[in-house]
Symmetry: C2
Subunit: 411 residues, 2 copies
Amino acid sequence: MKLEVNRHSATPIAQQVEAGIRAWIEVHGAGGGRRLPSIRHLATTHHISRNAVIEAYERLVASGLVRSRPGSGFYVADSAAALVSQPAATSGLEEVTNGLWGLFSANEHTLKLGCGWLPSDWREGDDLTHAIRQVARKSRSGIFEYSTPQGPQDLRGLIQERLRPLAITADAQQIVMTGGGSHSLDLLVRMLLEPGDVVFVESPGYYNLFGLLHLQRIRVIGVPRLADGPDIERLEVLLAQHRPKLFYINSVFHNPTGSTLTPAVAHRVLQLAELHDLQIIEDDIYADFQHTPTTRLAALDGLNRVFYLGSFSKSLSSSLRVGFIAAPPEQVQRLVDIKMLTSISASRFAEQVVTTLLQNGSYRKLIERLRIKLANQMAVALTMLKNAGWEVYTQPAGGMFVGKTTGSNYP
Amino acid sequence: MKLEVNRHSATPIAQQVEAGIRAWIEVHGAGGGRRLPSIRHLATTHHISRNAVIEAYERLVASGLVRSRPGSGFYVADSAAALVSQPAATSGLEEVTNGLWGLFSANEHTLKLGCGWLPSDWREGDDLTHAIRQVARKSRSGIFEYSTPQGPQDLRGLIQERLRPLAITADAQQIVMTGGGSHSLDLLVRMLLEPGDVVFVESPGYYNLFGLLHLQRIRVIGVPRLADGPDIERLEVLLAQHRPKLFYINSVFHNPTGSTLTPAVAHRVLQLAELHDLQIIEDDIYADFQHTPTTRLAALDGLNRVFYLGSFSKSLSSSLRVGFIAAPPEQVQRLVDIKMLTSISASRFAEQVVTTLLQNGSYRKLIERLRIKLANQMAVALTMLKNAGWEVYTQPAGGMFVGKTTGSNYP
């Protein structure tokens, strides 16, 4: 590999190396598994510092284009195919999931970047334990029976109430309970897309979704994520080139940049969606960490072409597996059918535990405490990053993510 | 519709009418939604009794070919397309699931035929409640964290032990925890099949699977289920005509006939599978109701081309959503990858509750009591059916199902 490196350019060497490797992958094929030159080799042959190469590789790894295999070197990731806009390959899924997999098996001392999990010592057990014991004691159907196809009516009513402050007017009949955010995404991908369809995602974005789309043989195109939401200019250009069926957006406290959609960008996104007959998945699983509600696509659109996703995995418990979709009314029945065919039902027990915590007010108090804690820790993290000379992508108003523009992704 | 009815034939009129309507659907297209003649119309125009027409329609409804809409009449079911061996259509899933749906929303007084659910007053709450409280009290990770990708090691070890009396030698590394039997089926269908592939199923068979295969655009061919397992002669004929990738078999206490696979048929099925390079899903979710183990395909085959499915939904709790797949070793990683991409993880809490009950011996005692109860009730049911003049398909040795050859499917 021979990269063009200009020592007199205003562009830092690391960024030139990154761009060079990215271009090389696009030209030489992004099928995955191909080994890339070692740090030492690139530094020596190009007469540049090893730190510049390390930084370039770390950025490529963070972007999902390159995979690091400890003790062995760097390889083109299988997910690279999706990221450079070619039809997704159908094999080698293990490559896509390896990164995540490691983190799921990792111990509590591993820093789990991009995962959006609360530290285990932040988890407050008392209310949850109490609710679990209460359901176990009081509800025979809760511990034994399948849930109803759409999920319990009372729980959907409580979620309807929770969406009201976000100005999302969803009837309980429009809400379908699921087994968490990933399950929601899977149901929607199966309902809305065919193999070969084009989907726009935000770049950087949610890694596991790229793998899911790859599994379903969807063509994935990345739209750059800016501090105020997706890059509208770029979105317009891409819409002129492609005919996507769907756009996936993480509106608030975006993973991994921490940025939040502004009203103006939300409005433009919906105008373009209307013009190009595009459906939207608004993934809002970090919603409960937000103190003062900001604009949601689902609120502007009135759940017309937007499917809105929520979850209790990030705030309350990742173990219970409870999430939901608020859907356009005419899509609900088909969504429920696909849910039944593929899983029969969600866990009635878990749903009743969440219902209990929503009803008795514990959940509201829990997330109020979490918001304050997260805001405090975000301030500390931003100060530390600033002192270490790192530039951040945006100053998040809350949530769990802060993105960087330079420096290492690793501690 | 003009049916051939021969009053002097040895074949009962009802069966002639059934065969006639079935042929009519095959000839006129099984796209679904088409209205069929009323009971009165058919009886009048063919000079036959209304009871014969009613019985024919009831058998067609039970087979999934025809759908009854109360107050409106009979219609070709959308699932009919799959049942008459044409490529599955892609719309109208709601038709496939309507039957099941009603039962999930029905109250406790509705007789839920073909569902395999224990009556709610048979459910014993004490041990389960105790285990739930114990996990809630003792395990922070149990109530809060995602599970591991494959499921907890200790639980998989306990399942390995439970498979030993069935002569299934699966290492814990070959076992993947899932969110129940339907989730297991969905994962395997996605891993093993492409749209347009052919799958053999038993006929009659598990209704929800037909809908799932329909959703995934799989071509479904029915192999008649006899009292000793699938009809081997017919299987050989069908294998000469089609190139199926997969054969789905409910080996023990088959839903809905109650029949159990014999060793000789199991052996022949595996020989044919070898010859035609066919993979097999052995759905054994009623295994724990069997007192004396009989031959399993997974035992003969050594988990080479057989995927073995188990579940705790039928015996312990349908609410917790815990099942498993024992898979050929080289297929495990990909199965886990697809599980992660589509649902991230199963419920660690539910898995720990099941682990607790397996470890402390409560589960073993629970299913021993259930086996005795089911055997007693089966004897009572068989006597009642005999006294009512009904002929049963086979005399089940246990389990929850008894099939009929004549008479009504409704109480």
